[in-house]
Amino acid sequence: MGHMTHEESVKSATKWIIVLAVITICEVLFALLGKGYIIEGVHFPVWIMALVMIVMSLVKAYLIVYEFMHMKYEVPGLVKSVLLPTLLLVWAVIAFFWEGADWNKRRSLIDNKNKETVETVRSSGQSGELIKELEQ
């Protein structure tokens, strides 16, 4: 970039690649730690794991886009026209995960209902007759 000499920009790139590598190592170590691979019997709750991992990944994404892809040096109009549309994804994530969680909830509901029916039929011995009785 115009405002930096070659040596300065090389130094900056080297600094950020080291930061990215360190974050990646932290991610892996945290994943292994939270699942009990490093210290026997240590388990972190899923939501803590997910939150920490997502935050670290977003930091990595920011560094790649701003430092390596030079988004830092683009004019505000370009930055906004590229980054603002990705905010739509926030709603997509909320909507689809909400829906997915609901499928899961209903699955166990349906499973429980199915179990009830099966047990009733079994205890009566002859399933066909019971259903006929119920229909009448």
Partner: protein, 343 residues
């Protein structure tokens, strides 16, 4: 360029000067060249494609009572190492990360118009891309060839407390543990598998000894499905997968009989089916991006070496554009790594 300008100026002679500045093609909105700006918008659209895939993955995963735990699924390392959670994929991540660094260096040498440096750094980037693709080929080969994961079949399942995927009859299972189905047998005394021959299985199962089935009442020489002892709800197929077995009923709850007069029995795999399809399509789509990136890198490196961009006098802009694409591929991997391997 100069010809174009005079041509448009003729048409805009009677307009005032300001409008001519904006519309005669010489101005750069956003102070970026057309090529770089369009690369940014292509990457934005590509980000939406990947986001669509990853959101579908998340929605399906959240809808399942359990999901294969990544550090059990991806735990092999070349050279016969097993039970090495995340080691191999961490290596892949570092390869891609450092190829991003070599790409930055190539772009920086482009800014100071140092041809030799650009070629060397681009060659290193290409090597990184090829190494990543090689790793992915090995990983896929392990999953497909040795662990029998396909887009329709998922041999991995995680036991849950609610019983959907937990069957205590299949052996002592800890809730929440991910199991590769044809590895369950090792819990049933596989230590002694030197004592008896591999039987009819020998031909196609030579590379994984855990295909020896030691479940009570089960032999591999039988037909397609075998029952496991007096197990009512599970069978083992000829590849050693344990499948959930169920009888088919009509809407009145009456058991349907097959052609042989016996109750119609069907089977389904125990693990969430979508896992294989999601894994292969998403990592495959990313791998395809890496592959096409390598192809473009090679073309542009050859053009740099041949002096084409020197003639164009546009400051190696093509190197910057492929640089943007290559960093984007690395960026996507950050999120693939996050959702498939870390969480």
């Amino acid at each position: 360029m100069a010809e174009t300008l005079t041509h448009t100026d003729k048409h805009h002679d009677h307009h005032d000067h300001h409008e001519g500045e904006n519309w005669d093609g010489g101005a750069q909105p956003f102070k970026a060249s057309y090529g770089k700006l369009m690369m940014w918008y292509f990457l934005l659209s590509d980000a939406f494609t990947f986001a669509g895939f990853l959101i579908a993955y998340g929605a399906l995963r959240i809808a399942m009572p359990s999901w294969p735990i990544a550090d059990k699924v991806f735990s092999t390392f070349p050279g016969g190492f097993h039970e090495k959670p995340l080691y191999f994929v961490t290596l892949m991540t570092f390869i891609l990360l450092f190829s991003s660094y070599t790409m930055v260096r190539a772009v920086q040498d482009g800014h100071r118009e140092y041809k030799k440096g650009i070629v060397v750094w681009m060659a290193l980037t290409i090597l990184g891309g090829l190494a990543f693709l090689g790793c992915q080929a090995w990983e896929w080969n392990t999953l497909i060839g040795k662990e029998h994961m396909t887009i329709t079949k998922n041999p991995f399942f995680t036991t849950t407390e609610h019983g959907t995927y937990l069957d205590p009859e299949l052996g002592a299972m800890v809730p929440g543990e991910t199991i590769l189905l044809h590895k369950i047998q090792t819990a049933h005394g596989a230590d002694d598998h030197g004592d008896h021959g591999h039987g009819g299985d020998h031909g196609h199962a030579d590379d994984h000894g855990d295909h020896d089935h030691h479940l009570p009442g089960f032999t591999t020489t039988d037909a397609t499905y075998n029952s496991i002892g007096d197990q009512k709800y599970a069978v083992v197929d000829k590849n050693g997968f344990i499948l959930h077995k169920y009888t088919v009923q009509d809407e009145n709850g009456i058991t349907i009989n097959g052609e042989d007069g016996k109750p119609l029995v069907k089977t389904e795999s125990l693990g969430p089916k979508a896992f294989g399809a999601l894994f292969f399509f998403i990592t495959g789509f990313h791998g395809f991006h890496v592959f096409s990136g390598v192809v473009f890198l090679i073309i542009i490196m050859v053009n740099v070496a041949s002096g084409l961009y020197e003639k164009r006098r546009n400051g190696y802009e093509m190197v910057e554009k492929i640089g943007l694409y290559w960093h984007f591929v690395d960026l996507v991997w950050v999120f693939v790594f996050l959702v498939f391997y870390l969480i």
